[in-house]
Symmetry: C2
Subunit: 244 residues, 2 copies
DNA sequence: CGTGTATTTGATAAGAGTCAACTCCCGTGG
DNA sequence: CCACGGGAGTTGACTCTTATCAAATACACG
């Protein structure tokens, strides 16, 4: 991917959160991004590591996961194009989780030190990253509510609603039909369910006419009912949090 | 509480994360904190509100909760003395959750605008707050793993371990014996369990000799076994993240 | 001392997990 | 071109953890 395209995408990301001045834009263009492509399921970072670079997703999806000592996994975040993957590591030394490519992934990487200098020199950009980090924290909280207090059907419906909204925002897909990028096992790991049960619930959502499926293609048939089943309210995504 | 004591406590908080220069200290002292005391279970903030002040906890405990439309609750964070409660609202307009006092609480409140100016003028302090926000995010992720993938016994043991470590850090208590500030119903809401089941698991931890209880006083009898039952590893608390 | 909240206990039910087998799909190589 | 292999998805039978319902007890506070 062309470096000017990269700058363009990064800039658009910042602009979506905060108005950027001409000087800010010049500084973004000067950031030493390196583009890299990695295959699905490649580890970008492992728990305990101390990364020196920070990645911005240009194309594809990634996820954060945590493992228990006996190998059980919880997927705690899905990361989409236009998101910085490593904001943690901007200020924390040691990673507390793994980050793995969900699909084939194109990244723009920048040294953490450079990014740190950049946000000091450019407060508006720093604020944009703050917002990003805070929104991810908000999503964590919604997921906690989801896993802790909703039954399997609501949980899965909720994840489908979230995908719909976030994919649309990333312009990855029409809101009402998208390619689910995860296996049912991965869905289970994101929801605290077994893959077998994910399968049954998915089928039940389909037979009840809330969604249709063809392979991993998901189409929302009845958004109001899906949203109600999920108790989905997009407030936690803070989508209005733009250019304050 | 004396205003100089307040400044002292806030300063100590920042110093624990980053070295503060003389100028930084003067700026902290100049922040217009207002001390306020509120009763247990008072709401400090409700979902959807747009707060104008940010609170620092001087004494007591608070928690964040989210509610489902039909009234089920998930407690998503426990907040301890020395923590800023409203970092979200530094950069997000609308609160995505409620914040409620767990015990009687003494707060130092400062206008969000003042805090925002302060961190722009004082990058080290801004960085300290970044670290705080990122650590809370990390705790959210560990809780997701806890609720999503561990059984009731491990979950509860994990929360007890976390309390032990965090209380000790706040010097609220000896690490191995502390007053649990929550009802069993609240414990259940933090763990995605019913109060009845919390009660049974608590009793089983006691009869197995991992803990002892007298009213809400919890004493860790066998830390190694409790830690193992919890699969507790304090990495996610980023306690070493001090004065980089 | 009575009243309300928190805790404890028992009996039963239900949602989700486990185990195991089978099918489908897709890419690979003979 | 087709057989093969492996991963993902599907299905059924059964189990188990945790929820639910209900009642009793303990405890704090006025």
């Amino acid at each position: 991917m062309d470096i000017s395209t990269v700058t363009e995408k990064v800039l658009r990301k910042f602009e979506s959160r905060m108005a950027m001045g001409a000087d800010d834009r010049a500084q973004i263009a000067a950031l030493p991004f390196k583009v890299r492509t990695i295959d699905a399921s490649t580890y970008m970072l492992r728990e305990g590591q101390r990364p020196t670079r920070c990645a911005f997703i240009l194309e594809g999806l990634a996820y954060r996961q945590k493992l228990t000592p006996n190998g059980e996994r919880e997927i705690v975040s899905i990361l989409m194009p236009g998101e910085f993957v490593d904001l943690q590591n901007l200020f924390l030394d040691e990673s507390d989780h793994d980050i793995q490519a969900l699909t084939r992934l194109t990244l723009a990487e920048v040294p953490i030190a450079a990014l740190r200098l950049f946000i000091e020199a450019c407060p508006a950009a720093g604020q944009a990253l703050w917002i990003d980090a805070l929104v991810e924290s908000s999503i964590h909280r919604e997921w906690l509510l989801n896993v802790g207090r909703r039954n399997a059907r609501s949980r899965l419906a909720h994840l489908l609603c979230e995908f719909s909204v976030r994919f649309q925002k990333s312009t990855l897909a029409d809101a009402m039909a998208y390619e689910l990028p995860m296996t049912q096992e991965q869905l289970g790991d994101a929801l605290g369910l077994t893959p077998v049960h994910v399968n049954r619930v998915l089928k039940s959502l389909e037979t009840d006419g809330l969604i249709a499926r063809k392979k991993r293609q998901v189409s929302v048939i009845d958004w109001p009912r899906l949203r109600d089943a999920a108790e989905f309210n997009e407030r936690y995504l803070h989508l209005g949090q733009i250019r304050r």
